[in-house]
């Protein structure tokens, strides 16, 4: 027993020393400014450890696959709470305290907040040539001022899930335009006194935002040295007026989506449709399993007079960001790129239900061609065709503000008030614009408005 402890201690010292040497070697490699650092793969004899924080279920499988195929880099996954529920606060605190992970799961909508908090590492020199691998609008979410800070992982392009069996029974076609959608909503109310086409989810900021995103004009942009806030714009007002009419006519429910009440309504057929993200298929399948085979997915309804098909993405999507203070930016980038573009990894993540892949070429992704758990639920339809088209039709000019948490809180509070009858939805968006201008100013940022 006596000799065992010293031996372990000795081993620990050796391990620490080799790790330190490896670290020095990695730094040395970086200083040499060889083009080879693009493909940083580390030294298998003394692997570099990359810390990774994520909340995506089953992402460990992808991490294991990376570790198995990259002996020079060892990725350590720590599962954290989802970003908006405290994960981001933890990351930002980690950056401040100097113990942040090298790579972290950060939503597209939160990347600007991270940037303003000085929490992102510039990885242009390692990832600059990867742009062509990814869908353009998704790639652009991690690029600020021409510099790359994050590798896109997945998005949530929107589609219309609907109960095809009931639509057929009532003689309703899948709505192609928003006018069709309103007409279908009215017909459904007449055909079944308990059924609604959908709920108006005032609780769901990303949903409200995606409806506005699809309508056209964006909410945030940069102009010279200032943020330009244009929430209260003609396109968004059109969306607000449309849904206000739906609310006034009692054509939609007003309960929260993804709540117990909503799940129950999906099960009983009291709610027969949902404009949701591509990952929503798992939510419907998981919560209303007995309705299997009865659903179908149609493209999101279009605004009359639109010159081309447009969709939107639920809260943008999610990326792997390299955080400030990392000592292994090259290795971290290698991992982030592999995780989000290697077919093996994308397949794993897709089956974990993480969203729509960010890579352009999805022909190697087996689950997108044929999926025996998903397609039968939708009567054999290849629903991924709908979402592939939708993802390609997301506006690449949409920008998130550096205060998206405040935006979410403000828009849900205001939309909830409108549903309660305090003002209209048009007022709700105008009030949200006012709140965002104040938020940005309070941070000391330059702000202008438009509409």
């Amino acid at each position: 027993m006596g000799s065992k402890i010293p031996r372990t201690a000795r081993l620990a010292v050796i391990v620490t020393m080799t790790a330190a040497l490896g670290l020095a070697a990695a730094c040395g490699g970086g200083a040499a400014t060889e083009p080879a650092k693009n493909q940083a793969s580390g030294d298998p004899a003394s692997p570099v450890t990359v810390k990774f924080w994520s909340w995506v279920p089953n992402i460990q499988k992808a991490v294991d696959a990376f570790n198995a195929s990259h002996p020079g880099i060892k990725v350590d996954l720590e599962t954290i709470t989802a970003g908006p529920d405290g994960g981001y606060a933890k990351m930002l605190a980690g950056v401040k305290a100097g113990n942040a992970p090298d790579v972290a799961q950060v939503g597209y909508d939160s990347l600007p907040s991270f940037l303003v908090n000085g929490a992102l590492e510039d990885i242009t020199q390692y990832a600059g040539d990867k742009a062509s691998t990814f869908v353009d609008w998704q790639w652009q979410t991690g690029v600020f001022g021409g510099k790359v800070y994050a590798i896109p992982q997945a998005s949530g392009p929107m589609g219309l899930y609907y109960r095809k069996d009931l639509f057929d029974k009532w003689g309703i076609e899948a709505p192609k335009t928003w006018d069709d959608f309103a007409a279908a909503a009215a017909t459904i109310r007449k055909k079944d006194k308990d059924a609604y086409i959908s709920t108006f989810a005032a609780n769901q900021a990303p949903w409200l935002i995606s409806l506005a995103q699809q309508a056209g004009q964006g909410w945030f942009s940069t102009e010279n040295d200032a943020w330009k806030v244009t929430i209260d714009n003609p396109d968004t007002r059109r969306v607000a007026e449309y849904w206000q009419k739906m609310l006034d006519g009692k054509l939609v429910k007003t309960e929260a989506d993804m709540s117990n009440a909503w799940y129950r309504d999906l099960q009983t057929g009291s709610i027969v449709g949902w404009i949701g993200g591509s990952w929503g298929d798992a939510i419907i399948r998981g919560n209303a399993p007995k309705t299997s085979g009865k659903w179908a997915v149609a493209p999101i309804p279009q605004w009359p007079g639109a010159d081309k098909f447009t969709s939107a993405s639920w809260a943008g999507g999610s990326s792997s960001a390299v955080l400030k203070g990392t000592k292994h930016a090259a290795e971290a980038t290698t991992f982030a790129v592999w995780l989000n573009s290697a077919p093996e990894s994308v397949n794993i993540l897709l089956s974990a239900g993480y969203g729509w892949p960010s890579i352009k070429d999805t022909s190697q992704i087996a689950n997108l061609q044929k999926d025996d758990t998903v397609f039968p639920f939708y009567g054999g339809q290849n629903i991924w065709d709908v979402f592939k088209e939708a993802d390609a039709a997301v506006d690449s000019d949409w920008r998130w503000p550096p205060v998206s948490d405040a935006l979410y809180a403000s828009i849900t509070d205001n939309a909830k008030a409108a549903v309660q009858g305090e003002g209209t939805l048009v007022d709700a968006f105008a009030k949200t614009q006012q709140a965002m201008v104040e938020q940005l100013k309070a941070k000391g940022l330059n702000v202008t408005t438009g509409g």
């Binding site: 606060a89 000085g118 200032a226 929260a256 709540s259 909830k416 309660q420």
Partner: protein
């Protein structure tokens, strides 16, 4: 009379100790220090230090410039965060809301707890132990679980209660803007009335039986005994549970947080605590959150000590 005598003894004892103190050798003080030190160390580390740090944080703010592409700076902000909190209609609204909530909840709670305690303490009560445990049981349910449980009973799609009320034509919207505060009051009363009842029962059991006998000899009914003997003698525990309930209602947090996803009537700054939580964890503004938390603490402090002053005036010291 024995009980009355007992009540006097602590005061006499304290005086005796007070007189005796100077005669104790100095060495005993170091003994005292050794025994109380662990408490003060932990108290300072986990209570005073975090509070001090929060107050300190509340005087700073992060400032960016231009587009914010450069790292923000941490600047001394003086009372800016306090001004921001106190001029924010949402935060002021949340304070107004909990004050209204206190106004409803405190009397309801005290009356409920007192009624239950008096019923269990009355001479005719049966199965006391069983009812005492049953009334106390909800206190053992964690607040989050209690809120989830009632949440299911409030949501029309999952609630047998709503169906039943609708059937007999009674109002059944628990989650509307006008009723949500009452729905929350119901949860906290359900949860804490049993606990407060126990506090009162302990007080009632300390009342000497002789007083009841004397009252009965004078021809008093159970109700008159309750009103003229029991209630005046549990004044101290009554004040105690009132203060507990006041503090609890001013710091309302768990119930609205859990019910928030179920209703459009609860906003992200529905109560002051929820507003501070939202600033700290959703909007990453720990400086404003610290200022709001400090204001909540000051408010609870002023109101509960104000109440104690009020009831303790004219030398009628409750506790």
């Amino acid at each position: 009379m024995a009980g009355v005598l007992q009540r006097e003894t602590p005061k006499a004892g304290a005086e005796a100790v007070g007189h005796a103190r100077p005669r104790h050798p100095r060495r005993s003080r170091s003994h005292v220090a050794v025994f109380v030190a662990p408490f003060f160390v932990v108290f300072a580390l986990f209570f005073l230090a975090p509070i001090g740090y929060a107050v300190y944080q509340s005087f700073f703010k992060l400032t960016s410039s231009g587009l914010g592409l450069t790292e923000p700076t941490l600047d001394f902000a003086g009372l800016d965060n306090y001004t921001a909190a106190l001029t924010s209609p949402a935060f002021l609204g949340s304070i107004g809301r909990v004050l209204l909530f206190s106004l409803i909840e405190v009397p309801v709670m005290v009356v409920c707890a007192l009624t239950l305690a008096l019923l269990l303490d009355s001479a005719r009560a049966r199965f006391r132990a069983f009812f005492r445990v049953s009334f106390f049981l909800p206190y053992g349910v964690p607040g989050v679980i209690a809120s989830l449980l009632w949440g299911f009973l409030y949501v029309p799609q999952t609630s047998p209660l709503v169906d039943a009320l609708a059937l007999v034509g009674l109002p059944h919207d628990f989650l509307g803007p006008g009723t949500i505060l009452l729905a929350i009051a119901n949860i906290s009363t359900w949860q804490f009335a049993g606990y407060n009842m126990l506090v009162l029962i302990a007080g009632l059991q300390a009342i000497p039986q002789e007083l009841y006998e004397a009252a009965r000899v004078d021809g008093a009914t159970e109700i008159r005994i309750a009103w003229h003997v029991k209630i005046p003698l549990v004044r101290a525990p009554l004040v105690l549970i009132t203060v507990f309930t006041l503090i609890g209602t001013l710091q309302l947090f768990v119930e609205p947080l859990v019910l928030k996803p179920l209703t459009t009537a609860i906003s992200s700054d529905y109560t002051p605590n929820l507003a501070a939580y939202n600033q700290a964890f959703a909007q990453s503004n720990i400086h404003l959150a610290s200022a709001e938390a400090t204001l909540i603490a000051i408010m609870s402090f002023v109101i509960s000590f104000g109440f104690l002053r009020l009831v303790n005036r004219k030398g009628k010291r409750a506790w």
